[in-house]
Subunit: 276 residues, 2 copies
């Protein structure tokens, strides 16, 4: 991913205002770049050049980063730490963090518009639909609604994560199909992404519970906060079974794509069996 | 503008979450729709059908509205009233206001992508550039930087308003040239828009000072807050001279456009000689 990282860093090369500094601070913090990795791997599996997907991959990372900045604000999750460093509103100010989030969200669309003009309308729609009030933001809304409620059901939790995490992963995969000229795979990619989002979140909850005490770069895990998780609603055994089941379904869907999904499956594995 | 208002209202017809409700509350509040009016008038002057510009006009109004929602937040300007009603974070909550702003910003790009596909890449770039960290958000950043500083110069104030107000007005006009197939007018339109933004703001400051005591639908004017204005840095006489000078320059530029600017000049007049 060094190729993409270099490209992304160059796209932020204008630290000419405090807002710009805050944008770079958040965007260029060491991160896993999951969504770009998925998009670029899928492009390669389709036989395309990775660089074709840089603008869309950067846009995804900008959207993901803005959502973290705004999520961490005092009025939202009120998190002082992110990726092991002070969160953006702590390192700068609340006002600057709000503006930096808005600016990354805006720049995401400016960046994606540099893709092949023939597919820009479709890319913009896929990104906005999955990031907007019927996508990621719906997940954040449901999450807010659930806060303070004592009995979160498994179905509610699944809904929150389907939108909050699944949609942006689905966007990464669907945009690869659009960019590669394989519109017949768009629906399957969307489905894989939504399932992968849930699987990733369940896996994350399992790791939260079972990981050793080493520093995790987060201030408090959801478990420690007393927030409902998949493990607390399903139990550890059922959660593990569900991961296995999702894994099987995802591999079936992946097999029906018009590509040889070598690299894509490797990224799935990195994503799900990661040790933090 | 009733045609556009109907279209805009229909685009918000999904009040299926609290975030959606907050989006509608802010977007559909009675407003002057300055930016849509400019874009649609310019399209007609180019001999095009107004409806060609609905998606772009709606996108502009969504961006303008999101910026008001976020500007009103306690960490920013901390305004309890907007357009005579409780501001969004007062009517809902801070968290919902943050999400509703993010959602309107995102939906703006989803909406503009429904324009003629051939010009979508250009439209997205014009909108994002003028709304982003080199445009409107730069204006908000400069505004934040200037806060608390005792001596704001005229040049600083002009810079703040050039970006904060001028850029989005410039985007409205430039997008009309793009949509109408007159790329040769894009630069002139951008220039007219930036000048019009400054003129509008100076006029606004003059009206703030000279208007009668009737309710203005704002909680506190900038003068009352002790914030620097064009009138306080220039004096009333020079401010009025500057409006006249800008007026002259804008009319010269408008004369060089590849159109008969009948309707456009009428909207300029409404904008600048309005009684609130």
């Amino acid at each position: 991913m060094r190729d993409f990282e270099t490209w992304l860093t160059a796209s932020m090369d204008k630290p000419d205002s405090r807002t710009r500094q805050a944008m770079s601070y958040a965007l260029l913090a060491p991160g896993k770049r999951i969504r770009p990795a998925l998009l670029l791997a899928a492009l390669e599996d389709y036989g395309c050049d990775r660089s074709l997907g840089y603008p869309a991959a950067a846009a995804l990372e900008m959207i993901h980063t803005y959502s973290l900045i705004h999520d961490d604000l005092p009025a939202m999750d009120d998190d002082d730490l992110r990726r092991g460093r002070p969160s953006t509103h702590k390192a700068f100010s609340e006002a600057t963090a709000i503006l930096a989030g808005d600016a990354l969200l805006t720049q995401a669309f400016e960046t994606i518009a540099d893709s092949d003009p023939a597919v820009v309308p479709d890319l913009v729609k896929v990104l906005a639909r999955n990031a907007g009030p019927e996508g990621m933001i719906l997940g954040q809304t449901l999450d807010l609604d659930a806060e303070g409620s004592q009995d979160i059901t498994f179905a509610q939790l699944e809904d929150i994560d389907r939108y909050k995490t699944g949609c942006l992963i689905a966007a990464a995969l669907e945009m690869a199909a659009v960019l590669a000229g394989h519109p017949e795979d768009r629906e399957t990619m969307q489905e894989i992404g939504m399932k992968l989002g849930i699987e990733f979140q369940i896996q994350d909850d399992i790791l939260d519970l079972t990981s050793t005490e080493e520093a995790m770069g987060k201030s408090l895990s959801d478990q420690e906060r007393g927030k409902a998780t998949f493990v607390s609603t399903l139990g550890l055994g059922s959660a593990r079974d569900m991961v296995k089941d999702l894994d099987r379904r995802i591999r079936l869907l992946t097999g029906s794509l018009h590509m040889d999904p070598d690299r894509l499956v490797k990224v799935f594995d990195q994503l799900l069996n990661r040790s933090r």
